[in-house]
C-alpha cells in the first residue's frame, strides 16, 4: 500500500466537507477528517478536490485542518459477536460507546464492530489439505443458543487449508492458513471485512417460493411476504409502520433478523432493546434477542451515518444469508435514508430531480431492494439462503405519489398500504385491504402440512376478500339510500364483512395472545367466521330474520376466538359446531 494520502480542508458546509490535495484518492474511500479525526467517506472527486460526507457532526471544523485517506472503502466487520449487538450506522457498538463515553454521543470515537477480547469456540468442518474457495464453509462457532455462525472463506480468496485447529479463539486469532497457488500463506481468522456498498456474491438467484410467516393475520392470509421477497409499508405518521416492523421482527419465522432504525426515534430502539431479551421466539422458545442484530442511527444522529446505516444492515444480513440462513431485514424508515441522500446531494450542489431528490434516487432504492432474494450460496457445502427486505416508507402528508414511494413500488413485490382513517378508528394493523397487494399469494397454500387445508385456505381467503370488496360497494349504497334498502343477504354480507374486519383482520399487537397467530390458527379463525356465513345463508333462505341471526350468542365466541391460546386451537373448531346448532335452533323454533 502506498503511504497515507493527506489533504487539507477548504470548505465546511454542514455534513459535507471539501478537501484539497486529494489526488489519487478513490471514490468511497474512508477518510479521517480534521483535528477531531472524524470518520468520513469520499462521495465526489474533482481534480484534487474531494467532497466528503462526514459521519459525525462537523461543528467547530474549519479550513486548513487535515484530511487523511485510509484507502479502504466503507466496510463492516463480520464474524462472531454480531448477534445481540446494537450498532450505529457505521457499525460502532453503542453499548461500548456508552461504557466509554457516557449517555451522549461524543465525536471522534472509533470502536471496532466486533469484540476483540471475547473468545469463541471454533469447530473446524474441513481437514488440512482441503482445497477451498470463496464461500466454502471451513468450520463453525456457536454464537448464541439460536445462531451457529458458519465460518466461510472470505471474498476473492482460495487455496489449500493448512494448520486448521479446534479451540478457543479471539476474532483476530488465526484459525487456519490458506495457501494459494503461489505458495503464499494467508491467515484465516473468524473476522472478515466486507465493503457495504456492493452486494456479496452468490452462486445464483432463485425465485422465491415459500412464504415467510409473520403471525400477523392480515399479512399472512391476504398479503404474505416470501422468503427472499421484498415488501414495503408506506403510511402517514402514526399509522403503524413501526409496529408492523416490530411485530415482524418479533414473530417472523426467519433464522436471523436485522433491524435497521434509520433516522427514526431513539425510544423505539430502546423499546426493542428492552423487549427482545424478554420475549420468547414462538418457534424455539429462546429470547428473540438471540437471533437479532440492531442498527440504530436515530433521527438526531448524523445524517451521513444514517445514509450508510441501511447498507451496514443489509451487508450483515447477506453475510448470514451466505451461511444458508433465512434472514429478514427491516428498514424503518427508507424515507429517512432517501432524505439523507437528498441532504448530501444538496450540499454537493448536484442537480436535483423531483422534490429535490437526486436523480439517482430510484436507482439506489432499486439496487438496495435487489440485494434481497433467495439464492444458492457460493461455496461448499451446497445451501440456500434467503434474504427478505421490508422497508417502511414515510411519505410527506401520507401522499403516495411521493418519489420514494413510487420508486419503491417499482421494485417491491408486496405493498402494505396503511390508511390514516383505519388508524383513527384504531383498526390495527391499519393495512388497507382494498389497495394492498402481494405477488406471493399463491405460496400460502404450500405453507400448510396438509395439502387439503392449503387448498381450503385458498378458497377461504378468496371468499373473504370478495366479501370485503362487496362491503365497500354496499356501504356506498347505504350512504345513498339508507340501510333499509338492503336485502337480507346484503345485510348478511355487511355483517360478515364486519366480522372479518373486527374479529379477524384487527389484531392487537399489545395483547399477549393476540399479538401472534400461527397459520393453523389463522385458518381455523377464518373458517369459523365464514362458517357462520354459510349457516346464516341457509337460515335466511329458510325465512329466518337477520336480526335473529345477528344476535346469536355464538357471535361472541367468534369475536373472542383470537384470544384462544395456540395450545387450544381445538376450541375454535368447536365454535363451528355451536354455530350449526344455534342456527338450526332458529330454524326449528318458530320466530316469536
Amino acid at each position: 500500500m502506498s503511504q497515507a494520502r493527506e489533504g487539507r480542508i477548504v470548505k465546511v458546509a454542514g455534513p459535507v466537507v471539501t478537501a484539497e490535495g486529494m489526488t489519487g484518492s478513490r471514490m468511497y474511500d474512508v477518510v479521517r477528517v480534521g483535528e477531531l479525526n472524524l470518520i468520513g467517506e469520499i462521495v465526489e472527486l474533482h481534480n484534487d478536490l474531494a467532497s466528503i460526507q462526514v459521519y459525525e457532526e462537523t461543528g467547530g471544523m474549519g479550513p486548513g485542518e487535515k484530511v487523511v485517506d485510509t484507502q479502504a472503502p466503507l466496510s463492516v466487520e463480520l464474524g462472531p459477536g454480531l448477534i445481540e449487538n446494537i450498532y450505529d450506522g457505521i457499525q460502532r457498538p453503542l453499548s461500548l460507546f456508552y461504557d466509554r463515553e457516557g449517555a451522549f454521543m461524543s465525536r471522534g470515537t472509533a470502536i471496532p464492530g466486533l469484540d476483540r477480547e471475547k473468545k469463541w469456540h471454533f469447530k473446524p468442518s474441513v481437514k488440512n489439505g482441503t482445497k477451498v474457495s470463496e464461500g466454502d464453509i471451513i468450520g463453525q462457532v456457536k454464537e448464541t443458543t439460536l445462531v451457529t455462525q458458519k465460518i466461510m472463506v472470505p471474498q476473492e480468496m482460495s487455496g489449500t487449508i493448512q494448520d486448521i485447529k479446534e479451540g478457543e479463539f479471539k476474532v483476530q486469532d488465526t484459525v487456519a492458513l490458506l495457501v494459494d497457488e503461489n505458495g503464499t500463506e494467508n491467515k484465516l481468522s473468524l473476522l472478515q471485512r466486507c465493503p457495504v456498498r456492493k452486494s456479496r456474491r452468490s452462486s445464483r438467484r432463485l425465485a422465491p417460493n415459500t412464504i415467510l410467516a409473520t403471525g400477523q393475520r392480515v399479512i399472512d392470509t391476504f398479503f404474505p411476504i416470501a422468503k427472499g421477497g421484498t415488501a414495503c409499508v408506506p403510511g402517514p405518521f402514526g399509522t403503524g409502520k413501526t409496529v408492523v416492523q416490530h411485530q415482524l421482527a418479533k414473530w417472523v419465522n426467519a433464522d436471523i433478523v436485522v433491524y435497521v432504525g434509520c433516522g427514526e426515534r431513539g425510544n423505539e430502539m430502546t423499546d426493542v432493546l428492552t423487549e427482545f431479551p424478554e420475549l420468547k421466539d414462538p418457534h424455539s422458545g429462546e429470547p428473540l434477542m438471540k437471533r437479532s442484530v440492531l442498527i440504530a442511527n436515530t433521527s438526531n444522529m448524523p445524517v451521513a451515518a444514517r445514509e450508510a446505516s441501511v447498507y451496514t444492515g443489509i451487508t450483515i444480513a447477506e453475510y448470514f444469508r451466505d451461511m444458508g440462513y433465512t434472514v429478514a431485514v427491516m428498514a424503518d424508515s427508507t424515507s429517512r435514508w432517501a432524505e439523507a441522500m437528498r441532504e448530501i446531494s444538496t450540499r454537493l450542489e448536484e442537480m436535483p430531480a423531483e422534490e429535490g431528490y437526486p436523480a439517482y434516487l430510484a436507482a439506489r432504492i432499486a439496487a438496495f431492494y435487489e440485494r434481497a432474494g433467495l439464492v444458492e450460496c457460493l461455496g461448499q457445502p451446497k445451501r440456500q439462503g434467503g434474504l427478505s427486505v421490508i422497508g417502511a416508507v414515510s411519505p410527506p402528508g401520507g401522499d403516495l405519489s411521493d418519489s420514494v414511494v413510487q420508486a419503491t413500488l417499482h421494485v417491491v413485490k408486496v405493498f402494505w398500504s396503511l390508511k390514516a382513517e383505519l388508524a383513527y378508528q384504531r383498526h390495527f394493523p391499519a393495512i388497507d385491504w382494498l389497495t394492498s397487494y402481494s405477488f406471493y399469494k399463491q405460496y400460502l397454500k404450500k405453507a400448510f402440512d396438509d395439502p387439503e387445508k392449503g387448498e381450503d385456505m385458498n378458497k377461504l381467503t378468496a371468499e373473504a376478500m370478495s366479501l370485503l370488496e362487496q362491503e365497500s360497494e354496499l356501504r356506498e349504497i347505504v350512504r345513498l339510500v339508507g340501510a333499509e334498502a338492503l336485502s337480507p343477504k346484503d345485510r348478511l354480507a355487511l355483517e360478515v364483512s364486519r366480522s372479518i374486519r373486527e374479529d379477524f383482520l384487527h389484531q392487537n399487537a399489545f395483547h399477549k395472545v393476540d399479538t401472534y397467530t400461527s397459520l393453523e390458527k389463522q385458518y381455523e379463525m377464518l373458517k369459523t367466521v365464514l362458517c357462520f356465513r354459510e349457516h346464516a345463508i341457509n337460515a335466511i333462505n329458510a325465512g329466518v330474520g337477520t336480526d335473529e341471526i345477528f344476535k346469536l350468542p355464538v357471535r361472541e365466541d367468534i369475536a373472542r376466538a383470537r384470544y384462544t391460546p395456540e395450545e387450544d386451537i381445538d376450541k375454535i373448531r368447536s365454535i363451528r359446531e355451536k354455530i350449526a346448532e344455534q342456527i338450526k335452533n332458529l330454524q326449528t323454533t318458530p320466530v316469536s
Binding site: 479550513p63 449517555a103 433521527s299 384504531r426 384470544y563
Partner: protein
C-alpha cells in the same frame, strides 16, 4: 483567539459574507459591532477558504459593509448554567431579561448538545396525571415523552398547556420538578397568560423562561429552543429534576429556518421549507427522554399552529413523524363549545402502552380506551351519515352509537379549565358511558374485566334511564340540531376566525 474583521463583502437577508478571515470554524459564533456601537450576534453557517457565511440572529438591517466589525469568538453558541437559572427570564438568545443578577455559571454548554446514545435511553413508562380525561384516559403521557399539541389559529392551546403545566407538576414526595418555557414568536399576551398561570400556582419559582416574542428578531428563534433544551438537560440530568418543556410555537421556529434557507438559495422542499427540516426538528425533539441511571426526565410539549388547520402541512407533518404522538385540537368541537376541544380520533400517544395498567393506572385502562375509541369512531361515522341523510335513515343501532358520541363529547371530552380529574374518575366515566351498550358489543374488553367493572355502572345507568326518558330524548334532539348547524357553518367556511 479573538479575531476582528471589517471585511464584510455581501449582505443578503439575514446573512452576511465576511472575507479574508483566518481560522473560522463552522458553527462558531461571531459578535458584530455596528457603526453606532450596538452589538449583534451571528453564527457561521459555512466556511470556504477564507470566506465565512454568517447568519445574524437579530437581522441585518442597519449593518453596512464598511464600518461594521465582525469579531470571531472561536467558540460555539453556549449557555452558562447554574441552579440559579430557576425562576429567571431570558431572551431567546439566553440573555437575562428580568431584573435579576447575572448568572455565574457552574458550566457552559454548547446549545446544540450531543445526541443521546439510543443505548443509554431508559424507556419512558411512568404515567403523568394531567387531570384531563382526553389525555389521561385516551392518550396518556409518560415522563420523558415528546407529545406535541397541533392547534390552529384561535384555538385554545394556551389553556391546555397551562392546565397541563399546572396539574401535572404535582409530584410524589422527594421529587423535584421544573418547567422550561420557550416562547418563539408568540404574542406578549399569550406568554403573559402562561406566566400568570404559573405565578398563581406558585410554580413560577421553578420555571425557566426563554422569551422571543412576536416583535423580537425572527432568526433568534432558531436558537431559542436549543437554549431551553440545554437548560432542561442540565436540570434533568445533572440536578435530577422532572422537567416539563413547552415550546411554543414551533411553526414560527420553522418559518425562521425557511427564511435562512431561502437566503442561502437552497433547493426548497415542500412549501419552501428546507429539505433538512425533518433532521433539524429531530435535533430539537429528540432531546426529550430519560437516561439510564439518572432520576430526572425531560417531557416535551411542543405547540404548533397548523396553517389552515392542515395536518399535512410540513410543520405538523414532520413533527408528527418525530414525536411520540400528537394531541390535535378540533375547530368543529371548539365551535360546538366543547373545551378542551381535543379531537380524539386522530390524537395519539404512542408511549401509553407501557405507562398504564395494573400498578400504574388500573388494569382495565387499555381495554377501556380501545373500546371507547372503537365506539366513538363508529358514533362519529354515524354523526356524519346523519348529517347527509337525516336521522330518520339511521337504524336503531346507529342511533345508539350517535347518542354515545354526543354523550362522550359532552361529558368525557368537555371539562372545566380548573377541573383536575383523577385517573380513577376518568376511567369510571368511561365505563359509565359504555354502559349503554350490551356486553356483546364491547368486544375489545376482556370478559373478566367486563364482569368485574360493568355491573355497578349498569345499575347506575338503569336508575338514570328510568328517571326521565323523555328528557334525554329532547336533549338528543337539541344536540343534533346543533350538529347540523355546525356543519352548515363549516361548509360556508368562515375564514376569519375571531380570537378565542
Amino acid at each position: 483567539m479573538l479575531k476582528e474583521y471589517q471585511t464584510i463583502s455581501e449582505i443578503a437577508g439575514p446573512l452576511m459574507l465576511v472575507e479574508k478571515v483566518d481560522g473560522a470554524k463552522y458553527g462558531h459564533i461571531v459578535e458584530i459591532e455596528l457603526r453606532d456601537g450596538s452589538k449583534r450576534n451571528g453564527q457561521i453557517l459555512q466556511v470556504e477558504n477564507d470566506k465565512a457565511l454568517v447568519q445574524v440572529f437579530e437581522g441585518t438591517s442597519g449593518i453596512d459593509v464598511k464600518e461594521t466589525t465582525a469579531r470571531f469568538l472561536g467558540k460555539p453558541l453556549e449557555f452558562g448554567l447554574s441552579p440559579d437559572i430557576l425562576g429567571r427570564v431570558f431572551s431567546g438568545l439566553g440573555i437575562p431579561k428580568d431584573d435579576g443578577p447575572q448568572i455565574i455559571p457552574d458550566k457552559k454548554l454548547n446549545i446544540n448538545g450531543n445526541p443521546i446514545n439510543p443505548f443509554a435511553r431508559d424507556y419512558p413508562n411512568e404515567f403523568i396525571q394531567t387531570g384531563i380525561s382526553t389525555i389521561d384516559g385516551l392518550n396518556p403521557i409518560v415522563r420523558g415523552q415528546k407529545l406535541p399539541i397541533f392547534s390552529g389559529a384561535g384555538l385554545p392551546h394556551d389553556n391546555i398547556t397551562a392546565q397541563i403545566a399546572r396539574q401535572s407538576t404535582i409530584l410524589a414526595e422527594g421529587e423535584d420538578f421544573a418547567v422550561v418555557f420557550a416562547a418563539m414568536g408568540i404574542t406578549f399576551e399569550a406568554a403573559q397568560f402562561f406566566i400568570d398561570d404559573l405565578t398563581e400556582s406558585g410554580a413560577i419559582e421553578r420555571a425557566v423562561m426563554f422569551l422571543n416574542l412576536a416583535n423580537d428578531p425572527a432568526i433568534e428563534r432558531i436558537a431559542t429552543p436549543r437554549f431551553a433544551l440545554t437548560a432542561a438537560e442540565y436540570l434533568a440530568f445533572e440536578l435530577d429534576m422532572h422537567v416539563l418543556v413547552i415550546l411554543n410555537d414551533m411553526t414560527n421556529y420553522c418559518e425562521a429556518l425557511r427564511e435562512i434557507s431561502a437566503a442561502r438559495k437552497e433547493v426548497p422542499g415542500r412549501r419552501g421549507y428546507p429539505g433538512y427540516l425533518y433532521t433539524d426538528l429531530a435535533t430539537v425533539y429528540e432531546r426529550a427522554g430519560r437516561i439510564k441511571g439518572k432520576t430526572g426526565s425531560i417531557t416535551m410539549l411542543p405547540v404548533l399552529t397548523m396553517p389552515e388547520d392542515d395536518k399535512t402541512h410540513p410543520v405538523p407533518d414532520l413533527t408528527g413523524y418525530i414525536t411520540e404522538g400528537q394531541i390535535i385540537l378540533s375547530r368543529s368541537l371548539h365551535r360546538k363549545g366543547i373545551a378542551p376541544p381535543v379531537d380524539c380520533l386522530p390524537s395519539l400517544s404512542r408511549l401509553k402502552d407501557k405507562g398504564i395498567g395494573e400498578g400504574k393506572t388500573r388494569e382495565d385502562h387499555a381495554d377501556l380506551y380501545n373500546q371507547l375509541y372503537a365506539a366513538y369512531a363508529r358514533g362519529k361515522e354515524v354523526q356524519e351519515l346523519a348529517t347527509i341523510m337525516g336521522e330518520a335513515a339511521l337504524s336503531n343501532e346507529d342511533k345508539k352509537y350517535m347518542k354515545f358520541a354526543d354523550d362522550f363529547e359532552a361529558r368525557y371530552v368537555s371539562q372545566d379549565y380548573f377541573e383536575n380529574r383523577t385517573i380513577e374518575t376518568t376511567l369510571d366515566l368511561g365505563w359509565e358511558l359504555l354502559s349503554m351498550f350490551e356486553n356483546i358489543e364491547l368486544k375489545r374488553i376482556d370478559p373478566e374485566l367486563l364482569e368485574k367493572y360493568m355491573p355497578k355502572f349498569r345499575k347506575k345507568q338503569a336508575e338514570k334511564t328510568s328517571k326521565s326518558k323523555e328528557e334525554t330524548d329532547r336533549e338528543t334532539e337539541k344536540t343534533q340540531e346543533a350538529a347540523v348547524k355546525t356543519t352548515e357553518q363549516s361548509q360556508s367556511k368562515n375564514a376569519d376566525e375571531g380570537d378565542k
